[in-house]
């Protein structure tokens, strides 16, 4: 299944953070071994790419699947530009 551009971007960050090679849209940040510290790094990289407040920690801790995170980022960036 192909990933959306935002999902691709998340997958790329996870590849760097976790040293994994494949990330699917249903994969979960915490199942990959993510913790409070990798969350801080991940959020920093998301903000670098998509702007401040693109993804809030609360959202990550609620549902950490790639697809859900990408959706949240898309919504935040859409509302930030309108």
């Amino acid at each position: 299944m192909s990933l959306t551009p935002t999902e691709e971007a998340i997958a790329e960050i996870w590849t760097e953070l976790f040293g994994v090679t494949e990330v699917g849209s249903e994969d979960d940040f915490f199942a990959f071994g993510g913790n409070s510290l990798t969350a801080i790094k991940f959020l920093a990289r998301v903000e670098e790419r998509f702007g401040v407040d693109a993804l809030l920690p609360e959202t990550l801790y609620e549902d950490a699947r790639v697809a859900s995170l990408a959706k949240a980022i898309d919504q935040a960036t859409a509302s930030a530009t309108t």
Binding site: L17, F18, G19, V20, T21, E22, F30, A31, F32, G33, G34, N35, S36, L37, T38, A39, I40, K41, L43, A44, R45, E47, E48, V52, D53, L56, P57, E58, Y61
Partner: protein, 522 residues
Amino acid sequence: MQRLAYSDPALAIHRLINQTAVGYPRESGVPELFERCADLRPDAPAVVQGDRGLTYRQLDRLANGLARELLARGLTPGSTVGVSLPRSPELIVALLAILKCGGSYLPFDPAYSDERLRHLFGESGCRWVLSDRADLGARLDCEVVAPDAPPADRGPGVAVAADAIAYINFTSGSTGRPKGVPIRHRSIARLVHGATYARLDEGTRLLHLSPVTFDAATFEIWGALLRGGTCVLYPDGFVRLSRLGQVLREHGVTVLFLTTALFNAVIDEAPEILSGLRTILTGGEAHSVRHIAEALRTYGPGRLVSVYGPTEATTFATFHPVDELADDVVSLPIGRPIQNTRLYVVDGETLCAPGRSGEIWLAGDGLSPGYLGMPELTADRFVERVIDGVTERLYRTGDHGHLLPGGDVAFEGRKDDQVKINGFRIELGEISYHLNRHPAVRQSHVAVSTLGGRSLLAFVVTDDPACTAASVRDHLRARLPAYMVPARVHLCDALPLTATGKIDRHALLAAHEGGPSQARSR
């Protein structure tokens, strides 16, 4: 009384590094020290968070009111009071009010399991909780008081001795029981007065970022409020670096403490957010020289300080200002003892000369009186020895190291199974204890993976086909704090053994680091 043996060079170097005595108010409790600051500068900012803030007078009056309320409701001086409040001005009011009553605060996280919380409350004889969550009363069988009493001009008039217990922190225990570490008022005064590791005074704006359940918070809160400075509270439950940068900038924070792991993350992702600080303290785990070197290049000399200390000796025991770094350095020393603290490197019953490895023993007013309800462990870890003609009460840290010729201490690590993950102190045995009580688990081994950052890893031997990695993690999650639940659990048929019959840790880790399919299992 047992004497420690020593050679002349060993004695000389210990005498050199242990000249740390400076005068400080060792007979005053925290309330008295705070009230002195409040009397001197009542309108100075004591606590700020976002656009909320309390002056010293306001904080003092609110704490007076809450202290009186607690006593009116039947709290007796000397009682332990659990505290579960978000990082907020109310939290600081609550801590100060408990101390004004002559009580001890026990910060806890309500996300802990009932079993763990009942253990914490049982060990510390805690029947009172300050919280905005009324549901905790039934859950923990205790009296819950909301921190919203009206302010009062006068305190409750309880005399609080300097050697009374101010707070209790719990730390991981290898027998499956967390260890309660009580800390005296005097130990807090010793930490923040005459500080050699950072300037703490009326101009200090100190960030409170750590969870209040950890002893870094002792420094972050009282390092400001007993010195006339301002405690700047990080506003959110979760840390975000963009937000952290904003808070540091907007509130003009001068000093902060970051755990090693968080410090490394900041250096990797957003080093610019620390550029306005006067002092950056970092510690908790062995430092990464690459990150320290990067930080030194970014911030310049005179601002970066490495700190070390176990909870049992009140937050910080040693410090090492990082003002230069040789090109060939492979590890950063933990430095020398802070003010009013002494350190000995001991091998067997002998003080070590420079270069000889030994266990790090600490002495001074920072030492806890011992673990709650664990007299044997206390007698083992807290000992008395005659050193250089003086009887010292000592805490044997279990950390190993050696003295460098100039007197700095080089850290070597531990010989037991205590590890640090992202700043959290964890005894692997405590995790194994709970793993092995899972009905389907026949054998287990807990290790630390360094793949993609340090994380916990569990190997579980089971012959129950219904047992899944997820169910094992759920079992642990119900019993342990989240930071002690292994990120990955591997189910296996047997643990590989070495030729001598011990668990082959290298073979296990190699299997874990093998393929993505293995690494992906939960």
